[in-house]
């Protein structure tokens, strides 16, 4: 973590360098390079099938790129497992909510604290003394998140029973419980109505400003993307076609063609 802490806001936190990914003959990502600076909100946009989710999967170690390198907090990595990404401070939410459906909201968020809890097996057997103290300490932290996301009323409800919008919020809470350096959000507003989108946008901005968390998000709602993000990278068919501030991207002819189609 110290590596990531040493980086000042505005400096490069993560850089993706010439990354390619293929499944058999299908090329999901082709020679894409971009960077994410500390404490910014970076959006990845593009039409369906552009390789956005695959890109996030590469960043948190779920897929291994065939070519190219990724450096996070100054360290370039070879093959990395997802839990190693978690230890380095990369958290993530999913396009189709991936909560632990049989557990309560509170347990889900507490599960996000797993890495921060280290009392040994024998204290766990007794659930007394240090193990209980640790449990209470982290419960406090989780309650802050619950408070922040305004989900107090559903803390003891199994998440499988919650409506979709709330599930998305719980999932964000679970990711926040990891105190991530880099937070990856995969379509955090998919399937939401306007009001829920506004709430979620507010949470994202608050997380960014309050905790100083760097955020990379994928989103299809252009209004939200343009308002929220500091910089945007645009993918199409697995290639990068544009990169820059919202204003630059909006004016880019290739982006307009990709979204509106081009006459031949």
């Amino acid at each position: 973590m110290s590596g990531a802490d040493a980086i000042k806001p505005g400096e490069t936190l993560l850089s993706v360098d010439n990354v390619s990914l293929a499944f058999g003959g299908v090329r999901a990502i082709t020679e894409v390079s971009f960077d994410i600076r500390k404490s910014e909100i970076r959006a990845i946009i593009g039409p369906n099938g552009a390789g956005k989710t695959s890109m996030l999967n590469v960043i948190n170690g779920f897929y291994h790129p065939n070519e190219g390198r990724i450096s996070f907090a100054g360290a370039t990595r070879a093959r990395m497992k997802p839990y190693e990404a978690a230890t380095q401070g990369i958290a993530r939410t999913f396009q189709n909510v991936a909560l632990f459906k049989g557990m309560t909201t509170l347990d889900n968020i507490m599960a996000g604290r797993t890495l921060k809890m280290n009392r040994g097996f024998f204290w766990q057997l007794l659930r007394q003394g240090p193990a209980l103290a640790e449990e209470i300490e982290h419960r406090k932290f989780c309650e802050e998140i619950i408070d922040f996301l305004e989900i107090e009323a559903i803390r003891k409800t199994p998440v499988g029973k919650l409506p979709y919008g709330l599930q998305k919020r719980v999932e964000l809470g679970r990711a926040l419980a990891m105190e991530p350096t880099l937070l990856l959000l995969d379509e955090p507003m998919a399937g939401m109505n306007l009001e829920e989108k506004e709430d979620m946008s507010r949470f994202i901005i608050d997380v960014n400003q309050h905790y100083g968390t760097t955020i990379a998000l994928i989103e299809h709602d252009m209004g939200v993307v343009m308002d929220l993000s500091d910089r945007i990278v645009v993918l199409e068919y697995g290639r990068k076609i544009a990169d820059g501030t919202p204003a630059e991207v909006k004016a880019d002819q290739k982006v307009i063609d990709a979204y509106l189609g081009v006459s031949h």
Partner: protein, 365 residues
Amino acid sequence: MFYRETGQYKTSYAADMAVFPILQDRIGVGLMLLVAAVGIPLFATLFPATGNFFLQVIMIPFLIFALAAIGLNILTGYTGLISLGTGAFMGVGAFACYKLTTIFPGVNIIVWILASGFFSCAVGVVFGLPSLRIKGFYLAVATLAAQFFLQWCFVRVPWLFNYNASGAIEVPERTLFGVALTGANATAMTRYFVVLAIVVGLTWIASNLIHGRIGRSWMAVRDMDIAAQLMGIKLLPAKLLAFAVSSFYCGVAGAMMVFFWYATGAEPEVFSIRQSFFILSMIIIGGLGSLIGSYFGAALIYIMPILLGWLADVSGLPIGAATIEHLRVMLTGVLIIFFLIVEPHGLARLWQIGKQKLRIWPFPY
């Protein structure tokens, strides 16, 4: 009316995180323990004939099966790994205990009962290793490998049963402060107390594990293993720990089964695949992922044939023991399917719903 939490305010997270946060639940559990530890023995002393029958035929095996069911529930209910090898892991515990107590007869048998759990634990971890590469139903087949291999060992490795001509474990007499705990001279009452103490203690420990970090990581692996990895949970260690703890429980249950229930001896046939199926049916009916469900399931599945036999006796119908056994098997199956359709979380969920209804009684909501 009297089961209501109004007015019970939690002023600390510790109070809110207690296993039984509601006062009435704590009283209820206390009463149950009191009945088990004082009431039932008192009854058995007052009416020795029925009392001893009740202890030997119902209470002791019920507690032992409940412990085995908790073991399997940790693996299947909480971690989502189907095991068809419970019987064999129980057998490892039984044979380990037998070897230990015959090699070191001086050490107290209760120590060996608990120690034998660690042997079962080690074997469980070895057969859990394939879970690194394989998932789901494929893993169930790996546990079948354990079942048949271990069962073969119990029959073919005579060292395990000390070359007894019968090929079975012959339980020697072991004492504590001069009181016989095992063997033909041990009374049902003594054996009951030992079993009760061990089962209650281990249930408490299981509850601690499940309500803490480890239990959460197991359930996370069960519900969504990919997301669990991204939370920083390593899959293999989490699964192996579940195998280890689960096998420990099954091993202790197996050792107790031979030493405190059969009391004189047991054949390897006891630890067959049928036993595995028997315990699996208990946790399906009792409730996957529920400790109290393990008790409910053990009670229902174990006591049902006894009830059926008794019903046949009372009604005077000429039903043979074989027919009752067939009926039991069929009813078990029907109950499994019935519960899966009506209430997939089994008796434990029914219990919860009942409590919820009681809490808001007399209003519907």
